[in-house]
Amino acid sequence: MTELNMLEAINECLHAEMARDDRVVVLGEDVARTGGVFRATDGLFEKFGENRIFDMPLAEGAIAGASVGLAIAGLVPVAEMQFLGFAYQAMHQIAGQVARLRYRTQSRFDPAITIRAPFGGGVRTPELHSDSLEGQLANVAGLKIVVPATAADAKGLLASSIRDPDPVVFLEPLRGYRGIRGEVPDGEHLVPLGSARTARPGTDAVVIAWSHQVELACRASDRLSEEGLSIRVLDLRSLVPLDLAAIAEAVDSCGRVVVTEESPQTGGFGGEVVATVVEESFWSLEAPVVRVSGFDVPYPVGMVEDSYVPDEDRIAAAVRRVLEVA
């Protein structure tokens, strides 16, 4: 075990995966010579050279589209979108092509493509750098959507994503790059896709979260525990595949549910989680599920972003609210 932040965990994983399998190639804007704008790909160019990692022309569509071709050639591309908001430039390739290569060719080709992208608020980035598009991407059949919340999971889920024969969109919380640290297993560490994690045990209510919101939900849980409340936090880890059994188990045990996310409420993945809760565990519900989310406006500018992104106060308030219901 070594204590790492998420960025270090991701970097370590990329080094290990490129060393393990020489079909793994990394491509993106500014990933090679300068090691990525956050240094997630630091050292890879020096170690693996210009036939394994590529500074691409500034065109997200071509990054995703070329990845399809590389996958057809039998390589395992790990593409970076410099920020998730710029995946919009590549949506016709990501949703229309990457996601469907297996389906269209009836598994002749493995779209073993991983698309990494930082996202999420709290670090005062300009427009479209912080937007949470995971709900939109989750509706694209064929993609897997992976959303780690800890440094260890960042390593273990990224390794699984790269090795997965299906295309994975791997989302890295900007605020977690340096803000989330933790013990990370040394050497090979694989966390399977599709298994949620109990980030805090608890029995009075459960907060379902993913990515950086897990950290905030845990803080809310810790704070509420001082008030004698036992609040579980369920970290989904991946939105597709979704761990239906873990959701059912948590809801059945706790009976009261809060779902929290950064996206605007309307059409966010939170709605999917609520629908899943209703499908899996309606009869266990002792109160309506409450969604905590960003508001129904675009991710806003720096002076106001802190009140846009749900924080531990809002999560704690929502928990109190579901507990109040008789």
């Binding site: 065109a59 071709g69 590389l70 092509q97 060719t105 598994s107």
Partner: protein
Amino acid sequence: MTRPSDEQRRQMLVDMVSARTQSRRMWNLQRQGQIGTMAPIDGHEAAIVGAVHTLDPSCDWVLPQYREPVALYRYGPEILEHVMLYNIGHPSGGHIPAPIRVLPHQISLATQIPHAVGLAWGLTLQDDPGVVLVFFGDGSSSEGDFYEAGNLAGVLGAPVIFLCVNNQWAISTPTHLQTAAESFAAKAAAFGFPGVQVDGNDVDAVFDAVHTARERALAGQGPTLIEATVYRLGPHTTADDPTRYVPVEDLEAARQRDPIARLRAELEASGLWDDAVHADVEAAAIADIDAAFEKAKSTPLEPDAMLDHCYSQDTQRLARQRAGMLSGLEDQDAGGRIS
């Protein structure tokens, strides 16, 4: 100028005649309600066949748009089966079996162009000797994907041949509303590699241009953009009514430049072709496509086939959807533990 041999030219005419014959057969099948919307090939034959005949199917890849597959006979008769499966709406239509180096046709215009560049690049990275030939139309050249891919290919020096089949129309949109560039070939200046325009009704000219481009690619000299100028002699697809927008004079003039008539006249003049041969080729083409059609129709279809090949393994939810589907209508949407 690299000229194809007599035997190559004869074989090219076989492929061209077969393609048109089969395309027309498909037109009729569509009109009888037996298959879905299809896009006739008429006028494109020399551009496609001439290009493909320069390739080595054991190492070179072809990425079609949607008019080409019926003219890729050189890559194997299985392609026709794929075409028919696709056209009857069978999921297996997308599965062109390995090792045939042809991708299924592309509906989302121009998206195959970056795939071609990635594939060509991937071949190079793995010291695979092939080149990639990618087809797209004059209309598709307006999509960002074309330019992004062309630019990337230039930077990488990837072994890819961009073949723009300019048939003067994108559905109802004429080329002068598509671009003000001097030609589609001229767009290569944006990418830093050669762009050449050829008469796409002249199979020898196409052969030469693609051959040269392939030699360049193999020699590590990078990509080439080729514009093959033709005229779309039929409707855009079975769903289109070109009498609303194609000037009759233009169409009549274009018919005079029919690529098949041209090659046929040349081969007949040199004694390599005659009416009997022509009839035989047509008959064989019909027999082949009818066989492919019959085979397609009798290809089994599992009731839950549509759920296959989305993921390498069903997600939990998809597995439930599959179970629901297999259990019959009533339970299909009862996912979860609702009662």
